[in-house]
Subunit: 106 residues, 2 copies
C-alpha cells in the first residue's frame, strides 16, 4: 500500500534493481528485510513494486536512521548475498522529501 | 531500466498509485506521458514498476523543471482524466536526491 508518511521533511531511500535469473531464497530474504526494517527506529514506511525493474522505497525520519539501517548486520549480510546471487544491477538514492500531496477518490 | 542520472544533487518525483478497475485507455495515456516527459527541459530519467501499487519515479534537474512539467497542459489533462477514471489513490512526493551509489555485477 501507499505509505502513510508524516508531513515533510523526511527521507526516502529509493532502491532500484535489476535481478539475475537466480531467484532461490530471494522472496524469503525480501520478506525478512521488510519485517526487520519495520522494527527500526525512525522507520516510516515502505513501498514496493516490480516489473522489468524492481523499485523499493523506504521512508525514514532522518539520515541517522538510514545510516543505522545501512549498518545493520543482517541487512548487510542480505545485501552481500544479493550481490552474489540475486542482483545484476542496483542503484540506491537517498533523497529528502520536501513536499508531498495526495489524491483519494471519494 | 534503471535511470542513468548525473551526480547529485537532482530531484525525484515519486508517484505512488493505486488503480481503479477501469483500465480502458490507461496504457495509452501512460505511454504518451512517458514520451512527453522525455521531451521536457530538465528531465533526467524515469523508472516504473507496478505490483499491488504502481510506482513511477521521474528525475529532474531542479524544482523549476518539475513545476513546468506539473503545469504542462497535456499532463494536467491526463491527471484530471486519471482522477476521474484510473486512480483510486495516489501520492506524489518531491524529493531532493542528495546521494546515490550503484552496484553493477561484473
Amino acid at each position: 500500500m501507499i505509505s502513510n508518511t508524516p508531513p515533510p521533511p523526511y527521507y526516502a531511500v529509493i532502491f532500484s534493481s535489476v535481478r539475475t535469473t537466480d531467484c532461490v531464497g530471494y522472496a524469503e530474504m525480501n520478506t525478512l528485510m521488510n519485517e526487520l526494517a519495520l522494527e527500526q527506529d525512525g522507520f516510516l514506511g515502505m513501498e514496493n513494486a516490480s516489473s522489468e525493474i524492481g523499485i523499493s522505497i523506504s521512508y525514514w525520519n532522518d539520515l541517522e536512521a538510514i545510516k543505522r539501517w545501512k549498518n545493520n548486520l543482517e541487512h548487510q549480510e542480505a545485501l552481500a548475498e544479493g550481490q552474489k546471487r540475486w542482483y545484476k544491477h542496483y542503484k540506491v538514492r537517498i533523497a529528502k522529501v520536501e513536499r508531498d500531496y495526495e489524491f483519494l477518490k471519494k
